[in-house]
Amino acid sequence: MENTDKSRREFLISGLMATAALAGCGENNNPFAPDQEVKLTGEKVKLLSVNGEIIEIDKAFLKPVPDLPTLSNSEERKGIPGKKFAMVIDLSRCKNLKKCQSACNHMHFVHPGQSWIKVLSMQDSEQSSPYWQPTTCMHCDEPPCVKVCPVDATFKRQDGIVAIDSDRCVGCRFCMAACPYSTRVFNWDAPEMPEEVAKQHYSCETSVPQKKGTVGKCDFCPDMVRKGALPHCVSACPNGVFLFGDINEDSVTNGAETFRFSDLIKDKAGYRLMEDLGTKPSVYYLPPVSRNFPYETGVENQNPDDLHHH
């Protein structure tokens, strides 16, 4: 315990100068995120400041992304303190590129054919125009899936995330029946992944490695947030469809743009899916108005099995 305290203090001091940057999008991460704790090595290195002064920092900060201490199961079940995650999906920007899906499937080793993010071709009524709707787990505040789980294998965390403990799950699939958004997938087969990944200890934050006979789904990538990065779908989308953020900070970001969450929802008439069910999702949608792309641009990317739709 003492060690973590120390590492936090040291981080807060050195954090200002030693924060890693994510070069992928040219964005620096938030050095002040108070929950970020870095696993220190105890070894120091001397380096130069811009003024030519010599400073000492822990070797841990030499990595592009410093290693984070491994979390215990109870920490993973509790969640990141002080956070309340939310996502805004801007339907006017989506053209069914499915980069979100492939990035997510790749990072979580989702079984081929299955996916945690589905980009659905939606049409609300005959006269209304079709649009593309990426669908993740809604991370409901009244999660029907969690209500029915007999063994606490799926649970609601303090930060709003509904996560799964694949080491606990008995595979009864009641949660799948209970979820009105059909977001959950089941590992009918042994999941395919490199052996070194399969050997890893399961983490409720990375949802890796998936295990045969258990349920999997979108986890909002809290491991990425801990690293000061964004969920894989958010950073993979070239059109900035996904905006991820913290309600407690009242802001959401897609990496390139950051909005005040409350303003965005108010100005663009954000809504949630199936509000009448009372599930209180954490995922908001911005309606497909003034679109960046016509619906048709996404058709070529549609799953051939779904073409009979519309």
């Binding site: 070069a23 010599i54 990595k63 990065a229 990496g255 950051t258």
Partner: protein, 301 residues
Amino acid sequence: MKSKNINNIGRAILLLVMAMPLGAAAQQDSVKPKLLLNVGYYMNNNQMMYLLANTKAKISGKFKQVPGIAVTVYLDKESPDQLIGKTITNEEGLGKLIIPASLKSVWDASAQHQFIGSTEATKEYESATAETDITKSKITVDTISDGETRKIAVSVSAYNGKDWIPAPDVELKVGVARIGGSLLTAGDEATYTTDSTGKVSAELLKKNLPGDEKGNLILVARVDENDTYGNLKVEKSVPWGIAVKPNEHFFDQRTLWSTRFKTPIWLLAMAYSIVLGVWGTIIYLVFQIIKIKKLGTSGEL
């Protein structure tokens, strides 16, 4: 060259084997894909400098980050005594380097520097080089509270060898630090540009932003990928936010979705009373059977 050609088949097979687990398209021909190396200069809060080497390659039309490449970076001159260091790029194709204290004299000698990065040719990629020129610079952020309005003053200055002089026409972002390293811009514009005095003044138009538990916000001013100055960032904590107390109560509730340790009392009462009632009866009946048994066996004796 000749002996290399003989090895090509072997190399192609090796490539195939190595590329498959990565899910990358295998390169069938003997032409190695071009590796793109970039060395970025980063400076945070006018103190800590570091370099980020990034290796990527265009594979079947798409840029992919290339991991596992050894990058060597020198300061100004490719000579062993001006070596900054070596790094191997990680999963995201990134490697981080700091400028070691031993290069102090070289660093102090000039206001402009060049970072020279290079990679050796590998089995998969040709060698690559990169040069990044920077001018030493500083960025500061301050606040001006003018009655109701809250302004953020940013100034960028460059070193000319003797003095720190204002740096005009530098594009930068000013705002509040948010999740995932994002920046919520202070005003309506996404970016600002420094004037002839190297200054930018941005009003924080977003009122009542939630801060931390004490109501502190972190102001950020950031220069991204500037051709002259690289990447600069400065932060300042200000008490301009609304204090946000995380709602712990929400998770202490006893609800139907809570864990087994937070079952609603009414449900526990119902469940236990039913279970105890019925199992009490069952146990009573088992005792009745024992009683019958005792009656039977005592008769035998």
